[in-house]
Subunit: 163 residues, 2 copies
Amino acid sequence: METIKYKPIGIIRSPFKELEGMPIQPVGACGVKGEIIIEDEYTEGLTDLEEFSHLILIYHFHLCNGCSMMVKPFMDDKKHGIFATRAPKRPNPIGLSVIGLDKIEGNIIHISNVDIADGTPLLDIKPYIPQLEKGADEEVCIGWFEDHHHKASDMRSDDRFIN
Amino acid sequence: METIKYKPIGIIRSPFKELEGMPIQPVGACGVKGEIIIEDEYTEGLTDLEEFSHLILIYHFHLCNGCSMMVKPFMDDKKHGIFATRAPKRPNPIGLSVIGLDKIEGNIIHISNVDIADGTPLLDIKPYIPQLEKGADEEVCIGWFEDHHHKASDMRSDDRFIN
């Protein structure tokens, strides 16, 4: 299939200069502040974004290379298929985080609950609208995470996905 | 900034052969069935995925070219910044849908609530785990969508984002 090419729309700044010791999800990054620096040509596209409390960031795991089909994620001791995890060494190393939006000043977006490494290239921003995700009456099953997701608040990354 | 290259992991099959008249979000695609055909080399990565009821699909809007910084989205008559909307003509035309997982047979994933055009290249699959998205006690503000998101169930796309 054809290769798809994207150009980053900006860069994410955070306190996490290296992959080890990071929060592994936004719920574990409570209060961690960061910034997004948007390329000038895209600043107008931020119009009305400040009305939202949370944003979905889609970004490139620039510090990860290669992938495995079976991985032992941070939150479990058993191996799972890569697509049944949020592990970063994916066939396409695309990251997804719901973060808090504090304030926008020109091309700078101030953000909270940042679980993202400093210098990460940002691909897209979407408003976080839980009402669009699924019908309100649909039950959600979360597989192997059921017994483990509570760890996401406190657990920190180790070196398992570092090149 | 450096160009980022991705290779699709599979292709999405749906009843929507053209962009006009489609549901605009998964909540408007209740019961619409589709399939994902995963490339053979990634099939092992689906291990344990069937335990989840919902998946996050990250895909490429292959039928959209170009972008505007200000757009009039399907659900409103006013223009908004592209990043404050889910409109497909984005700087990086990346789509995101939470869909229902029915069944996995080998490299075929049977899915429900499909608001995606037939033939769409798939970039990534992540398990949908609402508990990881934000703290349970955080309030969510959804900006201009507040008065419009209820339309997502019934509204269909028109030709405004077609090339």
